[in-house]
């Protein structure tokens, strides 16, 4: 049972990781591509870490929870990256599929 669960989590995590990169490769403008990795860093890595926690908790004595920290740090840092990337793209005036924002929000 545990093995099925583990396998599922691992596959799900890998799949989300893959989809994130797929988005990165496939989507047609920078801003939409920016959404891809968010998957990978949240659900993708999240599932894998849960799998890891389960795996190590059941394998040796004592539970393993430190995997949570990876997610925690990612939750703090990944949005900063994404935000700054978007900001940089806006600053450089990269073309977007969406109608570009008016200047209003800036000043």
């Amino acid at each position: 049972m545990l093995e099925y669960l583990l396998s599922f989590l691992i596959l799900a995590g890998a799949l989300f990781t893959f989809v994130g990169s797929l988005g990165l490769a496939r989507l047609r403008d920078f801003y939409t591509r920016l959404h891809g990795p968010t998957k990978a860093s949240t659900l993708g890595v999240g599932c894998l870490l849960i799998a890891s926690a389960l795996f190590f908790s059941t394998r040796s004595e004592g539970i393993s929870l430190h995997e949570v920290l990876v997610t925690l740090f990612l939750f703090i840092t990944a949005p900063i990256s994404a935000h700054l990337l978007a900001k940089a793209a806006l600053h450089l005036g990269l073309t977007s599929l969406a109608p570009p924002p008016e200047d209003k929000p800036r000043r």
Partner: protein
């Protein structure tokens, strides 16, 4: 006095927790060590983080976190489907979300939350801090998305961090 000896009690707790997680143990030795560090590190970093954080409604915060996690899962599936399925039919949009939040931390948390949930990325905070520019991957109805953001995320954050 309390401020000087224990500048960020909440941070102290968080640090102790993280310490125990890091060491993957709840042994008493590590609890003691964690407490020492949880006390000492904020003493050092207080200069970097002077403003006090007060959480007015802890339970609401937990609920908020749960909501966000749930949203992450759901949105992930949705977005994954978008990416795999029909990337040509995406309707991306830039949305200017008007803000009621004032504090750096709250705005930061909101922006973070928006980034974490797939499908939206907070792109820019206006200079006057009254609008948060958000890029949405697929927003047929931009105003609906804005309303959703304000309801699901901004409102609870406002209550937790800025209610008084």
């Amino acid at each position: 006095m309390r401020h000087r000896l224990l500048p960020h009690p909440l941070l102290t707790l968080v640090l102790v927790g993280i310490w125990l997680l890091l060491n993957n143990t709840f042994a008493p030795g590590h609890v003691v060590l964690g407490l020492i560090l949880g006390w000492a590190i904020p003493m050092f970093t207080v200069r970097f983080w002077p403003e006090r954080v007060s959480i007015n409604r802890p339970l609401l915060l937990l609920r908020f976190i749960a909501v966000v996690l749930w949203d992450i899962v759901v949105a992930n599936l949705a977005v994954a489907w978008l990416i795999v399925g029909r990337p040509q039919s995406l309707r991306p949009a830039f949305l200017a979300v008007p803000l009621v939040l004032k504090s750096d931390l709250a705005i930061g948390l909101l922006a973070n939350t928006i980034c974490l949930t797939p499908g939206t990325v907070s792109a820019q905070l206006s200079e006057d801090r009254r609008f948060l520019l958000v890029h949405a991957l697929d927003a047929a109805d931009g105003d609906a998305v804005i309303a959703e953001i304000k309801r699901r995320y901004e409102q609870p954050l406002k209550e937790v961090f800025e209610s008084c």
